[in-house]
């Protein structure tokens, strides 16, 4: 396998508060290959959106990257100056947010916004940029793009708006798109259309996508690989099929089992007791999931599990790791 496009290594993000720092991301590592869709799934507060923001260099104080690195094509992009980051954000990594309405400026036509973005990145004439904008709108599946290019954002429906946002993200021909809950605000039938669009773009353009969502169903249909996050850590990474059907980490197992399916009316859904802990002031010296885990044993409450590589998968759980001597008390 060639070198990954994006590589996140032992990323740690802290938030400064009055009562000292809180660790929001701890030891987060994953890779995204070229043309790959990586799903990042987790509950609200697990740190999945924050990971996306960290990659974009958009973490604002009181938050900051304390340690770890983010490599784009082998080059470090964390701790770049705002000027240098601007050459990466947009041209190389673009972002799509949950609410398409707030991503578009209501005072300009869709065409104006596209043309402006295209010309900011490429030396094109206004006419050529407009042609490119129409091409992009067509590519993201907007019918009659020649006419729609002069429409205002409010004239589009929710799904169409999200397509425009995707077209906007594609303007500078980025290598990676970070999509933060891109389908959450949409209706089921429209959601399916957007999923299909993202998949197609990844396939046809060799675009990498980091798909951040709480909806495991969306990831199952869209992603090649998935990273499951819990309480600021990645607890399991692996090919979607394997994680969905045979998760290794008890949290990932519980998560898959808790999702009701269309197939049958189960008597009871599998449930994980309790809820995810809030942010901690330091690296937890134990597994953050152990209080909710029915498979916990001695080391879980005293040592944080390291990440173990198992073939193409990675998991952070003592069940899959030789327990160091002296851990059992």
């Amino acid at each position: 396998m060639s070198a990954p496009l994006l590589s996140v290594r032992k990323l740690r993000v802290e938030f400064a508060t009055r009562k000292g720092p809180l660790v929001a991301l701890d030891d987060v590592s994953f890779d995204i290959a070229r043309g790959e869709v990586l799903g990042v799934v987790g509950e609200s507060g697990a740190g999945k959106s924050l990971t996306g923001l960290a990659i974009m260099g958009l973490i604002d104080p009181p938050g900051r990257i304390v340690s770890g690195e983010i490599l784009l094509d082998g080059e470090r992009i964390d701790h770049l100056s705002e000027d240098r980051m601007r050459l990466i954000r947009g041209p190389r990594i673009a972002m799509i947010f949950q609410d398409p309405l707030t991503s578009l400026d209501p005072l300009f036509t869709v065409g104006d916004q596209l043309v402006e973005t295209i010309r900011a990145h490429q030396p094109l004439s206004a006419q050529a940029a407009r042609q490119k904008a129409i091409g992009l709108l067509g590519e993201v599946g907007i019918p009659a793009p020649e006419q729609r290019v002069d429409s205002w954002p409010h004239e589009f429906s929710g799904g169409m708006r999200q397509r425009v946002v995707i077209a906007l993200a594609m303007c500078a021909e980025p290598e990676l798109i970070v999509a933060d809950e891109p389908t959450t605000a949409l209706d089921v039938s429209v959601q399916a259309q957007i999923i299909r669009l993202l998949k197609r773009l990844a396939r046809e353009r060799g675009l990498s996508v980091m798909l951040v969502t709480h909806d495991m169903g969306v990831i199952a249909e869209t992603a090649d690989r998935v990273a499951v996050m819990y309480a600021g850590r990645v607890v399991e990474t692996g090919p979607v099929r394997e994680v969905v059907h045979a998760a290794l980490h008890p949290y990932a197992q519980g998560l898959m089992a808790a999702i009701p399916t269309l197939e049958t009316r189960a008597v009871r859904l599998a449930q994980i007791p309790g809820s995810m802990p809030r942010l901690a002031p330091r690296t937890r010296p134990y597994c953050a999931f152990h209080t909710r885990c029915d498979k916990r044993f001695e080391p879980c409450s005293s040592i944080a599990p390291p990440v173990t590589r198992m073939g193409g998968r990675e998991v952070a759980c003592w069940l899959h790791e030789p327990v160091p001597a002296g851990a059992a008390r």
């Binding site: 508060t17 924050l50 809030r278 942010l279």
Partner: protein, 324 residues
């Protein structure tokens, strides 16, 4: 996203109630609001000054060296003595005396008391009117809302002075007596109350429109609570935050308005002087060299208004989660 970054709770998943057991005061000292207060030196200073003024106003009769309203303690012979660091001063009068021989310092203490009392009562009255009308307008909607808000619009076109003159005139016409001195206090409170309610009404109406569509209000309706009960028990506590901010900023405004009116002679008579009355009295002597009669009340008024305003600004920022 990480709105409530509380400390790690996964060992004991639920808080064990220690929060409740520590006293209210201990919790206040530890709260975010207190922290943001202590973070700004200027705010602490403003808070200290305001507090000191309140104490002075409250205990004026106890701490003032003289009672300027007591004719037995006032002698014309002492009139217009300068402050003690100037030649020809009387050691009894720290800041000198006014035209009638009253001790400036005592007059200042009593004036502060009157100004703050009128300002405070005026603010209270305007808040009462404004919050009530705002709640009704926001919750009832439709024509009642339109009516109240149009009245508010019309009200905004009248300056406070005009309203004070109007109220003053009406009160006198009703009482048909010459006793301006007896009614002046009430007239001032009423004028200020009637001038400043609009801002409360607008703000409270806005918050009420938001709150009444929240599901906790729906839940209250489902158990058959009547509208006044819902407004009083559920909506009111949730719209009071901004009211507190406006009230603080308006206190400064009310004190200024009272001073303006008194300066113009519509307000309090010289027999029960407020800071504004003192300034008016002093104004006449400014050009004959007796600057202290106007300067001390003026400085006091300015310091009070700035301090209260700064406190209000801080409160507005502290209660607005988006600015934190």
């Amino acid at each position: 996203m990480t709105a409530e970054p509380l400390i790690d709770t996964d060992i004991t998943p639920r808080t064990d109630g220690t929060d409740e057991r520590r006293g209210r005061f201990a919790r206040l000292l530890d709260s975010d609001i207190m922290a943001s207060f202590l973070a700004s030196k200027l705010t602490v200073l403003a808070g200290f000054v305001t507090f000191a003024f309140l104490i002075i106003a409250l205990f004026a009769p106890l701490i003032a060296p003289f009672n300027p309203f007591d004719p037995a303690q006032v002698f014309l012979i002492d009139a217009r003595d300068p402050p003690i660091w100037m030649a020809g001063s009387d050691p009894r009068f720290l800041l000198g005396t006014d035209d009638q021989g009253r001790d400036m310092l005592s007059a200042l203490f009593y004036g502060l008391r009157v100004s703050l009392l009128i300002g405070g009562l005026g603010v209270l009255l305007s808040a009462l009117i404004g919050v009530t009308l705002g709640l009704i307008a926001g919750y009832a909607g439709g024509r009642i809302d339109a009516l109240i808000m149009r009245i508010a619009d019309i009200q905004l076109t009248f300056p406070a002075i005009l309203i004070a003159l109007l109220v003053d005139g009406v009160v006198h016409a009703l009482l048909k007596s010459g006793g301006r001195e007896d009614t002046a206090f009430g007239v001032m409170v009423l004028s200020i109350g009637l001038s400043f309610w609009v801002q409360y009404a607008r703000t409270v109406r806005g918050s009420t429109l938001v709150e009444r569509n929240k599901d906790y209000v729906h839940a209250a309706r489902l158990i058959g609570l009547r509208s006044p009960q819902i407004l009083w028990r559920h909506v009111l506590p949730n719209v009071l935050g901004p009211v507190l901010v406006i009230a603080t900023i308006n206190l400064a405004l009310a004190v200024i308005t009272e001073a303006t009116l008194s300066f113009l002679g519509v307000g309090l008579p010289p027999t029960q002087p407020s800071l504004g009355t003192l300034i008016r009295i002093g104004n006449a002597y400014l050009f004959s060299g007796e600057w202290w009669i106007v300067a001390f009340p003026g400085i006091t008024l300015a310091v009070l208004v700035i301090a209260v305003n700064m406190l209000g600004d801080w409160l507005r920022d502290a209660l607005n989660p988006r600015l934190r």
